[in-house]
């Protein structure tokens, strides 16, 4: 592991502010959407300052668009870096996707064909980003609804190739692995078995929504499904424990219930450790695949 395990946290959203200030909830850290705080003044920065007095905060972005065919936006990166000075985020992450075509921002996370030349192009840009922001930089795997015939490799091969070529980190979204596995018909364990876990710096878990045709949408508005927790247990074991964020972005629960959802991750961690202790004693690096059998 390249980074400290911050424990269990939740994505910081506006409906949470009042509860955080009045109850100081027992979460270990918060994750912010960077772009929501790359502003010149007002409530966002004031609220963030208050949270920073009590908790570590990590930054997660949605608009870098590392795979966009346009060059890097250094004005955007400069503002990102300024915010990082305020939060002192131990790392920064964004998504392995494109977000704009020309000057048109889609405000969505869009997939690319998994080709050698695309991997090289994205890795070259990601390396520049990490150098520029002067902090560890991680890319998150997407949930996607299309796959391309022009792809030359699997998503997990592509993901690994970009991360290793750029010498950056993985922000592994376990729910996204599950959603894409259903949408594209692959075994999520094939994905998870292939990852270089020494590069996984943080994990996301979240809920999703099923469409009429059986496809899944990554909606972040429902409890994490058991299938996803099973995958999480595997990832937790392979990483030896990694900073984990529950994302909940719509149809908000009460804050206490949101925290309770996040704490399910802690229960899985504890159960896993107990189970491993029973099975292997001190040898917690046993065969990880056995856990999912």
């Amino acid at each position: 592991m390249a980074a400290k395990n911050l424990g269990i946290g939740i994505g910081l959203r506006v409906p949470h502010y009042a509860a955080i200030q009045s109850t100081a909830p027992a979460v270990d850290f918060f994750e912010i959407i960077s772009e929501n705080f790359m502003v010149e003044g007002g409530p966002p920065l004031r609220n963030l300052s208050r949270v920073l007095e009590q908790y570590p905060v990590v930054q997660h972005g949605v608009s870098l668009g590392i795979a966009s065919a346009q060059g890097l936006d250094f004005e955007y990166l400069d503002r990102l870096k300024q915010l990082a000075r305020m939060t002192d985020t131990p790392w920064l992450s964004d998504h392995l996707c494109w977000t704009r075509s020309g000057s048109h921002h889609s405000h969505d996370l869009l997939p690319v064909p998994y080709t050698e030349e695309n991997a090289t192009y994205i890795a070259d840009k990601a390396r520049i980003v990490q150098d520029f922001i002067e902090r560890p930089f991680a890319l998150e795997n997407l949930s996607s609804y299309v796959s391309f015939k022009s792809s030359q490799m699997t998503e997990w091969e592509f993901y690994r190739r970009v991360i290793e070529a750029a010498d950056i980190y993985m922000m592994l979204d376990v729910n996204n692995v599950y959603v894409s596995s259903v949408n594209h018909g692959f075994d999520p364990m094939d994905y998870l078995r292939s990852l270089p876990y020494e590069r996984v710096i943080q994990v996301h878990v979240a809920g999703h929504t099923e469409l009429a045709d059986g496809s899944l949408l990554d909606t972040h508005n429902r409890p994490v499904r058991d299938e996803v927790w099973q995958l999480y247990r595997y990832v937790h074991q392979r990483t030896g424990g990694v900073s984990t964020i529950l994302e909940w972005d719509a149809d908000f629960l009460g804050f206490e219930d949101t925290v309770a959802q996040a704490m399910i991750a802690r229960r899985h961690m504890t159960e896993l450790h107990d189970s491993l202790d029973e099975q292997f004693g001190d040898q917690v690096d046993g065969d990880p695949d056995a856990l999912t059998a």
Partner: protein, 295 residues
Amino acid sequence: MRSPPESPIAPASLCRLQEAFGRAIAAPFVFDSTPDGQGGDYQLDIDSYDAELVADIRPRGTTSPHERLGIYNQQYWFRLLSTMQEEYPVTERILGTLEFNKMVMAYLTRFPPDSYTLTHLSDRLGQFLTHQHRWNRGLIRESAGLEYLFIRAFDAPERPAFHPSSQTEYHRDEILAQPIGLQPHWFLFEEHWNLVECRQAIKQEGVATITPVARHGHWAVYRGPDGPRAHRLNWLQARLLDALHRGTPLGQACDELVETLDGNDVQELAGNIGTWFARWVAMGWFASPSVEPAR
């Protein structure tokens, strides 16, 4: 300062794919209105998707490549429409949701999002409306204008506040001669309908329908401790604040205003200006003047 490194050049195939994909997801919906024009539904215009792009997308199960791409097309518009509905609740209720969505789609097709943040989504809505016969109505322009001020007030910069105690550091004459800056999050709004009250009824009471009535008045839209607010102004206050907002020094603004007033109004101004200023300072409207302390 070191210049940023050169970005790598994207593969040509990636450029082509993103251009076609970008056009597909931004393809406007086709609306089917009911005969009375009050209701209706929409359909994705999947036939407009680029054929080469569609041919590169794998079908899966019963879902065709068109339908897969349609998920992104739908999500793109749902995200933008829901953002605009949240930011423009008065305008949406005046137009009705279907017509509002048509207006937003026409606007964002003409002026697609060009910022990494959705905060700037409606920066050119006012400009768009003035060139659209269908929506270029005073009530629509005014409600959209008001709601845009609330967006800008939310996260505009804040300069150091002007406090009465700091006034002692300056000569009174210098204060009167200098423009007193209003905060960048402060805006003057002139209404011809009771749109601020309509907005408050929606935001605070959750009312589903509104009936704007004609009424002339002035409001200050500004950022309070918890977010944007509106504060009603009388016409004297509005004229004075408008002059200050335009950069007229306080002394000159008062002199010019007095010249246009009759005796009763002069009395009202003279009798109340101290109280008004104290209240405006307390609400954080003024930024510190940029005069040097007196030696």
